[in-house]
Symmetry: C2
Subunit: 333 residues, 2 copies
DNA sequence: ATGAAAGCGCTAACAA
DNA sequence: TTGTTAGCGCTTTCAT
């Protein structure tokens, strides 16, 4: 009882045509007489023939598969992007190979090489920072790459983001205009250019616009985890800050609950604005004011851009910036 | 500037050996003289040769990739499973092709056929109910299949779950022992056997153990969404229930906040026990008492089981039941 | 409109 | 230990 696969030969024989003809009807080539097409289609149906995508990939050098490198699928931020990616991929008849990297530089390289070995037609990369090593791999391979929610230092590959700097500036501004003079900046690693460059710059700009001094004691780095937020509560209180701009929702609700548990009233005594507007912001009480970024769309647009690149279409602009916003809820006055 | 791929031939030529030898060293075949191996490895390194997995797949009839059918990656419940799957897959050198089905019967079939066309070595399926159609496809194909977090009506394929019935019974029991006589059962579609058979049965058992009558007016069906939970608050209040067993965290926090917003005190006036123990349960105040199921492990064990099946190892038991528990937090007395 | 035949890059007997 | 040689199932010229 071995796997008796039906091949294009079987179909050709049964339909009394050559395999080339079968290939043509399978691929929708118009150079087939309707009658022939019909006959072949019947046989395909009767035999339950299913073209072998691997053989196809070898012969055509196209796998209709794209690799997606993601730090962690179980993180709602990334899985939202992933969902956008997959939906558009499906729309364009691509499949995605999903690979978790844990944000580890080594794994990223490993995984990328693995994906390239599998002959993916393109790669979508999500990660906090683009190391030199990975950039080297990108440029060495001719496979199109798009960064989703990551900044490319020199635009060698495609990328889709929002204007993080402007968003950070607006968020900080809101806090400053509400009268806060000591505003904390709470982010992940400042080595990540989105945090250390873009957002921090926006934060400083807003401070300076509001004639506030920049104070390193108000800048906190933490991992994007609920517990980390809770643990931060004490330190943030001691810093004298009366408001915080936070770049991650999980961190933000951790801090919110940590503060609440210590009897701090939000927003009366402490204002909070977070960044990703995931479901989490609506779950805590008070609900959190948040920067909004179109996560699903960042994924979807990335994939769309990638399809164009894989298709060798002219892409007017491969560095795409999507609009952001701010939604005010109960954590700000 | 076309993609000039280096093939096994190039390596063979440069190393003055046959391609078979190169193939052997690449595949770790021991029948190669150390000196030869070393020479070949050097050339591979120098030429930056990377074996073409597609060609390999065609020749060996193994792709070292498995298909993963998931209702929605951006749902934390499923993405937790997916993470477990991918970690074990990586461990065993497999890649995963991730495909969202939205739980739609048609898409599931489509996606499955697509994955089979890509010659995946195995399939992991997550879904709420297994239709006859999809079961037909499963049995028609010789590709091993494992259900992760889904019940197989007649154990034709592998599956990994917890004992939903026992868990529901224990949860309901807890509520009954706390003195509640009107306990709501809030689930997704009762057509899903996990809800309509397993859990509902467990719920009824607990009622009967506690000499409580079963009342259809206390059974609610809703989509697993936060909003749905909020919307349900009114109806649940009107039903006279003073406690609820809920099968989904998002739904549960929606209901919790909906009740809270209407001035109901939890747990004093209403007790809640939910099911998946995701981060969400720790985010709301009060934190929610929850059934615990090892989501990551269900994914991980599913993949492990699948590797065995793909490897044609003898599998003593392909219907695996993992342990569950209950963690008591602030939403029960 | 259709067929013949040469690969795609690799694995896996089978020989040597 | 190493090489030779068929394929794997399909796409894609090039003829006809």
């Amino acid at each position: 009882m071995e796997k008796q696969t039906i091949t294009i030969y079987d179909v050709a024989r049964e339909a009394n045509v050559s395999m080339a003809t079968v290939s043509r009807v399978v691929n929708g080539n118009p150079n087939v007489k309707p009658a022939t097409r019909k006959k072949v289609l019947e046989v395909i149906d009767r035999l339950d023939y299913r073209p072998n995508a691997v053989a196809r990939g070898l012969a055509s050098k196209k796998t209709t598969t794209v690799g997606v490198i993601i730090p962690d699928v179980s993180n709602i931020f990334f899985s939202s992007l992933a969902r956008g990616i997959d939906d558009v991929a499906t729309m364009y008849k691509y499949n995605i190979i999903l690979a978790n990297s844990d944000g580890s530089d080594d794994k990223e390289i490993n995984v990328l090489n693995n994906l390239l070995a599998k002959q993916v037609d393109g790669v979508i990369f999500m990660g906090h920072h683009i190391t030199e090593a990975i950039r080297g791999e990108f440029s060495r391979s001719k496979t199109p790459v798009v960064l989703a929610g990551s900044i490319d230092p020199d635009n060698q590959v495609g990328s889709v983001n929002i204007d993080y700097q402007a968003a950070a500036k607006e968020a900080t501004n809101l806090l400053a205009e509400n009268g806060n003079t000591k505003i904390a900046f709470i982010s992940g690693s400042l080595l990540d250019p989105i945090n250390g460059k873009e957002r921090l710059t926006g934060y400083k700009e807003a401070l300076s616009t509001n004639k506030l001094d920049y104070n390193e004691g108000l800048v906190f780095e933490a991992e994007y985890q609920y517990k980390m937020g809770e643990n931060l509560a004490e330190r943030v209180m001691n810093s004298g800050a009366t408001a915080a701009y936070i770049v991650d929702d999980e961190l933000a609700i951790g801090l919110t609950n940590g503060l609440l548990d210590r009897g701090i009233k939000i927003p009366e005594e402490f204002e909070i604005i977070t960044t990703n507007n995931t479901l989490l912001t609506e779950v805590v009480r008070p609900k959190l004011t948040s920067v909004t970024q179109p996560l699903y769309d960042i994924g979807a647009v990335s994939m769309r851009l990638l399809t164009k690149m894989m298709n060798k279409e002219d892409v007017e602009e491969k560095t795409i910036v999507l609009p952001h916003g701010i939604v005010e809820r109960g954590s700000t006055k």
